[in-house]
Each structure stands twice: as structure tokens, then as C-alpha cells.
């Protein structure tokens, strides 16, 4: 049986998150001290070499992203994406609630690497109680002078899923409607207030102190070679244990669901799992031996995404759940681009028709075509990923759709 491996949750339930002294006693901020003793290019090279890839969904090499910030930039920003809007996901909340100083340390390390004096944590509006904890943690770190001249401010989101997209998030910090920008320019070149900006996820930052302290090789040797390290997963739905865990990225879905989740509750049988949040693909039983790392998930047409693991038992109605998900995207589309504004609306309309047993084969064909267009034509990841639950359920659970179609 595979074991948990704790990097970002190493202090969880062992220290008092409200006391910086506990964190310091557990070796906290030694990574920052070491990072500050390194030159900026060396630090960036080290992170790049560790092959730490973003934990917010897109899995971009973290050090490589930092290297896009011009070395001579006068002003630059470090932004932590703590929007965590992907349904079924609560891992960033767990990480911060268990150990807020770890995130601050990670951000300060990034601040040193890209020569930034100002960091922002963009925390979703649904977590006001976590904002309080973060502000306390920042005050304590400032009181001890640990962050030096690196300043961190918490900003609260307003319940818009699209604001997790990095350029929408930047718009929101600037005080605007959270609509994604056209890229390029990428934030590394022109982000917050048109200055070079690094945006990383909470879990990405929280990995940094250990990587700096233990070295790139140490990290690169954990888990899958292409996506090393661990991943914090949140188990929801019909598993016996709805828990959050941190496992090496070589863990398979079956191990996650059965060894940690305790299998399906009430002795029922497994039907499907959706990994990565509501924009992730649905995965049938036959693919459960796939490891969770980003590339393995991609190879089966799914995504690791945020690491949400939503399990459905044999009694669940796939068409009904997919309809519910289509409503989510219709509601959260920001409306900036036509393929998504209109596409999510029509997709939800057709899914409702299917769900009510009023659709024909032609509707399914239209839905498939629409989905393919959206994947290609939408401006941001929201619209591009919205069809994924539809296409993967059509692929793996077509009989459930068929049973709902009107007899011609």
C-alpha cells in the first residue's frame, strides 16, 4: 500500500497555525534564509531544476515562469492564487489553515528570486475566516522582521470562478471586473499594473521552502519524474472517507480511492470519478490504475487539475450530474467572448433537454460539435475546459445518454 508523503502538510496538526514560534521551532524560514544567501539566477535555476510544476492546474514549470521576469525590472509583483473556486476543491484552504507561515515563506522566496518587494494573496471571498488567519500570520512575521522589505497583502475575491484565471485575477486586484485579458503579454512581462508579475498557486509556493532547503535533486526524485513531488488531493462524493491527503504523484487513482478513501461507501460499486474539479474529465473503472501525475492524467484524456477527486457510485445519474455541471459553466462564464458566453448557454440548454428525455441523436451531434468549437475558440481556460465533462461522459458513459434519447 502506498504511503502518504508530506511536504506541504508536514506541519499539519503538529504546530499551532496561529503561532509563528511553533513554525520557527519546526525549522520554519530556514528555506528563506538559504534562498537569500543565493544569487537570484542560482535560485531560479535551482527551482527550475527541481521540476516543480504549478499546482493550480496548468502544471507549468515554476522556475521557468520566474525566469520570464526581466532581471532589470524596477517593480515586480508576486501574486498568490488562493481563489480555489473549482468545485470539489478545498486543498488550498487546508494548506493555509494548517500552516499559513509556510505560504508566506514560499512567497518571500519567490520575492527574492524576482526582486519583488510586494506580494498579494488573492483569497476567495468564501474564506473570510482564513483571511483573518493570514493577516494574523503576516502581522507576526512582520513583527519578527522575518520578511524583511518584502510586503504581503491579502485581497478578497468576490465569488467569481473566472477570477482564478491569472489575468482575470490580476484585473480583480486592480479593482476591475474579473474578465481575462488577451495573452500575450503574459503576466511575467506585463501583469499587475502592467508590471512583471509572477502568479502561482498556494500549493506551489508552499513547496518552495522544502525545495530550497533540501535541494532540487531531493525534490525531483520524489514521485513521477515528469511531475515530481507530491499532490494534495481532496476526496469528495461517494467515498467512505472524504478526506484530504498528500501523496507522491506516482499514486494511482485506485490507490487514492480505495486505500485512502476507503472505497465506495455503503458497500456500493464504483461508477465514475471526476478528477481535477468540475472542469475535469470523467474517468471509468477501466482507467483507475493510472497514476495521478499531470501527464498520465492527460494521456487518458483527463486532467489532474486542482487535485479534486469526486467519486460517484453505481446509483449516480451521469447525465443529471453533467447537466448540473453545464449549469455551473453557464453561470460562471464572464461573457467576454462569444464562443463561451453563447456556447455554455446552449450546452446547458441541450443538456437539460437530454436530461428531461426530450432530446434526439441530432442534439447529441450538435452538442459534440459545439463542444469541439468551444475547446478551440474560447478565450480562456474556463470556456476551453467547460466541454470536457460533456465529451468525456459521452465517450465513457454513452449508454446513459442513449437511454435518455427520444425514440425516433
Amino acid at each position: 500500500m502506498i504511503e502518504e508523503k508530506r511536504i506541504v502538510l508536514r506541519n499539519a496538526d503538529l504546530i499551532n497555525p496561529e503561532k509563528i514560534e511553533d513554525y520557527l521551532q519546526a525549522g520554519g524560514y530556514q528555506g528563506l534564509v538559504k534562498a537569500r544567501s543565493m544569487s537570484r539566477p542560482d535560485l531560479i535555476a535551482e527551482i527550475k531544476k527541481s521540476n516543480l510544476r504549478g499546482r493550480g492546474g496548468a502544471a507549468f514549470n515554476c522556475g521557468l515562469k520566474w525566469s520570464f521576469v526581466p532581471a532589470d525590472a524596477q517593480v515586480s509583483y508576486v501574486v498568490c492564487n488562493f481563489d480555489e473556486g473549482e468545485p470539489g476543491t478545498y486543498k488550498d484552504r487546508i494548506i493555509v489553515q494548517k500552516d499559513p507561515q509556510l505560504l508566506l515563506e514560499g512567497m518571500a522566496i519567490c520575492g527574492h528570486a524576482v526582486n519583488s518587494k510586494q506580494g498579494y494573496i488573492y483569497c476567495r471571498g468564501e474564506y473570510p475566516y482564513v483571511v483573518e488567519l493570514l493577516n494574523l500570520a503576516i502581522d507576526q512575521a512582520r513583527g519578527k522582521g522575518i520578511l524583511g522589505d518584502f510586503n504581503i497583502e491579502v485581497r478578497m475575491g468576490g465569488g467569481a470562478y473566472v477570477c482564478g484565471e491569472e489575468t482575470a485575477l490580476i484585473e480583480s486586484i486592480e479593482g476591475h471586473r474579473g474578465e481575462p485579458r488577451f495573452k500575450p503579454p503574459f503576466p511575467g512581462v506585463a501583469g499587475l499594473w502592467a508590471q512583471p508579475t509572477v502568479v502561482n498557486n498556494v500549493e506551489t509556493f508552499s513547496n518552495l521552502p522544502s525545495i530550497v532547503l533540501n535541494g532540487a535533486e531531493w525534490f525531483a526524485a520524489i514521485g513521477a519524474p515528469n511531475y515530481p513531488g507530491t499532490k494534495v488531493l481532496t476526496l469528495t462524493g461517494d467515498v467512505a472517507n472524504r478526506v484530504s491527503i498528500e501523496v507522491p504523484t506516482t499514486a494511482t487513482l485506485r490507490e487514492v480511492i480505495y486505500d485512502f478513501g476507503g472505497g465506495i461507501k455503503e458497500g456500493k460499486k464504483f461508477k465514475a470519478v471526476q478528477v481535477g474539479g468540475t472542469s475535469g474529465g470523467f474517468i471509468p473503472e477501466s482507467m483507475l490504475d493510472t497514476p495521478i501525475d499531470f501527464d498520465s492524467m492527460r494521456s487518458i484524456g483527463a486532467t489532474l487539475g486542482t487535485g479534486a477527486v469526486f467519486v460517484m457510485d453505481e446509483t449516480r445519474d451521469i447525465v443529471d450530474i453533467t447537466t448540473r455541471i453545464a449549469k455551473f459553466f453557464e453561470h460562471e462564464s464572464c461573457g467576454k467572448c462569444n464562443p463561451c458566453r453563447e456556447g455554455t448557454f446552449r450546452a446547458y440548454e441541450i443538456m437539460r433537454k437530454i436530461n428531461k428525455g426530450q432530446a434526439s441523436v441530432q442534439d447529441i451531434e450538435n452538442l459534440t460539435l459545439l463542444s469541439q468549437v468551444m475547446e478551440k475558440a474560447c478565450l480562456c481556460g474556463l470556456g476551453q475546459a467547460a466541454p470536457s465533462p460533456i465529451l468525456t461522459t459521452l465517450k465513457h458513459f454513452y449508454p446513459e445518454y442513449q437511454a435518455r434519447l427520444q425514440i425516433q
Binding site: G158, G159, E174, G175, G178
Partner: protein, 148 residues
């Protein structure tokens, strides 16, 4: 209670602080009273249309008057399969209003929401942002009784 003017002015020097100002007003008043938009527009140097556009973009902010207790019911997929619909119906029946409405006495507002990040305990509701997990319809009267 601090005036809306005072609250908003305290964010004047914060770049992009309009959303923070809205959060602070809503914390004090439970929604954004009408004058909020005009004051914010002037304070942050944007048009009233823009200030209104920002306020209405975010589902967490409300420009409509709301009750003292705002109950938000998560209907995202994990809560959906855990029985969110029955829970929503139970609240609607108990309060005799529909989702999106406020009781006549101004005490409760019911809202639908997407995932609030407490999916270890589906289905989930929040009351003035405090989460209540593993809810079932039978618990509705007891939860409402907590709101005094």
C-alpha cells in the same frame, strides 16, 4: 456604525481598493446600499457605471437589500449528489420564500451558490459566511433557530 462614506474613504489610498471597500461596506450593512456606488466612484476616480459594473460582477457582493442572515446553499456537483436539492426545498418551505428572495421581516435571505470549499462535508450551506456541513433537511429548523 461607521458611515458608508467613512468606510469607503478609509480605502482611498489602496490601489485597486474598490473591491476591498465594497467588502467592508457589505460586512457592515450586509449589502451595498445605493449610495455606495456613487461614493466609491468618486473616491476611486471611476464612472458610476464602472463602479456599478464592478459591484454586480461579483456574486458575493449584493446591490439588493438582503436580510440580516444570508443563507447560501451550495449546489455544485458534490453537494448536488449529496442531496442539495432536498435541502434547498426544506429551506424554501421553512422560510416560505424562494431562493433569491428575502423574508418579509427582513431577517433571512436565501441564495444559491457554487462550491464554498467545504466539500468534505457535503451538502454545505453558509450563514453569513460561516459554513454548516453535512446538513440534512431535518436539521433546518434547528439551524434557523440559531439565528436570533
Amino acid at each position: 456604525m461607521a458611515t458608508i462614506q467613512d468606510i469607503i474613504l478609509s480605502f482611498r489610498d489602496k490601489p485597486g481598493g474598490i473591491i476591498e471597500a465594497y467588502h467592508a461596506v457589505q460586512k457592515a450593512y450586509n449589502y451595498l446600499p445605493e449610495e455606495t456606488i456613487a461614493v466609491a466612484a468618486e473616491t476611486f476616480g471611476v464612472s458610476e457605471a464602472q463602479a456599478f459594473g464592478v459591484a454586480t460582477f461579483y456574486s458575493y457582493l449584493s446591490v439588493a437589500k438582503r436580510g440580516k442572515y444570508v443563507i447560501r446553499m451550495c449546489e455544485s456537483a458534490p453537494c448536488h449528489i449529496a442531496g442539495a436539492e432536498a435541502l434547498i426545498k426544506a429551506f424554501e418551505t421553512a422560510l416560505r420564500i424562494k431562493a433569491g428572495e428575502t423574508t418579509a421581516d427582513g431577517k433571512f435571505t436565501l441564495e444559491l451558490t457554487e462550491c464554498v470549499g467545504q466539500c468534505q462535508g457535503t451538502p454545505v450551506i453558509t450563514i453569513n459566511s460561516v459554513p454548516y456541513v453535512n446538513m440534512n433537511p431535518e436539521q433546518v429548523p434547528a439551524v434557523l433557530a440559531l439565528c436570533q
